[in-house]
């Protein structure tokens, strides 16, 4: 079951949000829809820092390690001396590792974002189709998600 509150003005919307939070409604069950970003909602709902950064960090480190591992493994498997350089030439491999760090870090960040936001959603998140237009909306989910 979802309770919906609709407002024309930001002030009334924020007052209601504050009231709901103070009345003990779990913050996680509250969703807001605004015509433009209203940063006060983040403070009221006490949204902690996104966990996407952990996905990015792990992805970046994995990409960097994979870049070095892949290049070192291949040159050791098929050793060719090129331009008098050492077989394992870290200077040259830095470029590959750096590129893979960015690539895997970026893809992991995107995957983490999709995972944490439970996107994509192929159904309406509200029980019926609503046009919010310029309205400020608050929805409160009571009980289990259907």
């Amino acid at each position: 079951m979802i309770d919906r509150y609709s407002f024309d003005a930001k002030g009334a919307f924020l007052d209601k949000l504050d009231e709901l939070v103070k009345s003990g409604v779990p913050r996680k069950s509250i969703n807001t829809f605004t015509p433009y970003p209203v940063h006060e909602t983040e403070e009221l709902l006490d949204r902690s820092q996104s966990a996407v950064r952990f996905f990015t960090g792990v992805g970046a480190v994995a990409g960097c390690v994979a870049g070095f591992a892949f290049t070192i493994y291949t040159v050791l498997s098929w050793p060719l001396i090129t331009g008098g350089k050492e077989i394992v030439s870290v200077n040259a491999f830095i470029v590959i590792a750096y590129e893979l760090m960015i690539l895997v870090g970026g893809l992991a960040a995107f995957a983490g974002f999709l995972f944490l936001t439970r996107l994509p959603v192929f159904r309406n998140i509200l029980s019926d189709s609503v046009e919010f237009s310029r309205k400020f909306e608050i929805t409160v989910e009571r009980g289990e998600r259907s």
Binding site: G83, G84, K85, N91, A92, I94, V95
Partner: protein, 354 residues
């Protein structure tokens, strides 16, 4: 700080005295040709040009974050004239350049001194026009800011190619100019951070967000600096051409330069990168001042690494000249009210960032 702590007259007097002392030391007391003065001058030029370039960039990009410290950054611009005149003293030390014995069309003493003086003087004029336009709130200030930035790039490139790279003529690196003006900009950011550190001792500073934004920029330019460094290094390493590789080999493999080169990388990139990744630390003024000092010190050591393999440096004389020149930079920043009066930028803080 509402009343001027240092009058324009006192500042001009201090600049003349410092210039005269350095000229006397270099012309009469230390006649042996070495690179002491070159290192001090290169470093000071980078600081002064970098500070004004940072303010000019903020002007051009309409950066709100820079407004609270714009006056301090602009206030060092008269030192560009001091630097331009001091550059003529390089004529007395011209023997440190191998090409001076076999001059050619580009590298001959008169043209070398003249073009560097002219470019530095033009940079001073551009900075002066910019500061005047900013003081008057002229609608043309963006034009002057763009003009200064263009001259800053030319000037720092000339410093790189003429003053430093030609020490080992015919060794060339086309990236050297770009590397130098990125360095200069990074030193400008380090100076901006130190200015914020001193201003934030006042409890009602309201400069936390400005410090955070400056720290972000310092992080970005530290990464860009190491990118430029690696781009030069990798191409030379890959090419492995004897006339190119010798320059790098001496500095990254032979003691004591190898140790110094590592110290430069650690202080300008490794430590700042690790510290500046942290979001909360970006607003801790003492930590940011430490990082800024480390970057500034690292870039000073880097100038030494570039020069020392080909020319000697006298540590006591270098210490005296650097202290004198940096004191002058500090005095001009402290005397900002005389050079760029209140009303330019904003006196207060900028908690909103932007």
């Amino acid at each position: 700080m509402s009343k001027p702590s240092l009058s324009t007259r006192n500042l001009v007097f201090a600049a003349v005295i410092v210039g005269a002392v350095i000229a006397a030391v270099e012309l009469f007391l230390r006649r042996t040709p070495d690179a002491t003065f070159l290192v001090a001058l290169t470093y000071t030029t980078a600081i002064v040009e970098g500070c004004v370039a940072l303010a000019a960039t903020g002007e051009l990009s309409k950066g709100v974050w820079l407004i609270p410290i714009k006056r301090e950054l602009y206030s060092v611009y008269p030192l560009l004239l001091v630097v331009a005149f001091l550059s003529l003293l390089l004529g007395a030390k011209i023997e440190i350049y191998g090409w001076s014995e076999q001059p050619n069309g580009w590298l001959n003493v008169r043209f070398f001194l003249a073009r560097n003086f002219v470019v530095l003087f033009l940079t001073f004029l551009a900075a002066r026009k910019l500061v005047t336009a900013v003081r008057r709130g002229s609608p043309h200030k963006n034009r002057y800011a763009a003009f200064y930035i263009a001259l800053f790039i030319v000037s720092q490139s000339l410093v790189a190619f003429d003053w430093i790279m030609s020490l080992e003529y015919p060794w060339v690196s086309t990236l050297f100019g770009g590397y130098f003006f990125i360095e200069s900009f990074l030193i400008g950011l380090a100076v901006a951070t130190l200015i914020l550190f001193f201003r934030m001792r006042d409890p009602s500073h309201g400069l936390t967000e400005t410090l955070r934004d400056t720290a972000k920029m310092m992080f970005a330019f530290s990464v860009m600096w190491v990118g430029f460094f690696f781009a030069q290094f990798l191409v030379i390493w890959y090419g492995n051409i004897p006339e190119e590789v010798g320059y790098v080999f001496t500095r990254v493999k032979e003691p004591p330069y190898a140790g110094l080169s590592r110290a430069v990388i650690v202080s300008v990139w490794v430590i700042p990168f690790a510290v500046l990744l942290s979001r909360p630390l970006k607003t801790v003024a003492p930590v940011m001042a430490g990082v800024a000092s480390l970057i500034a010190a690292g870039l000073f050591i880097e100038k030494l690494v570039l020069v020392l393999p080909v020319a000697r440096v006298s540590p006591p004389a270098l210490a005296i000249e650097v202290v004198l020149l940096l004191s002058l930079v500090g005095a001009f920043i402290a005397g900002r009210d005389s050079i760029v009066p209140q009303g330019v930028g904003a006196a207060g803080g900028n908690e909103a960032g932007g």
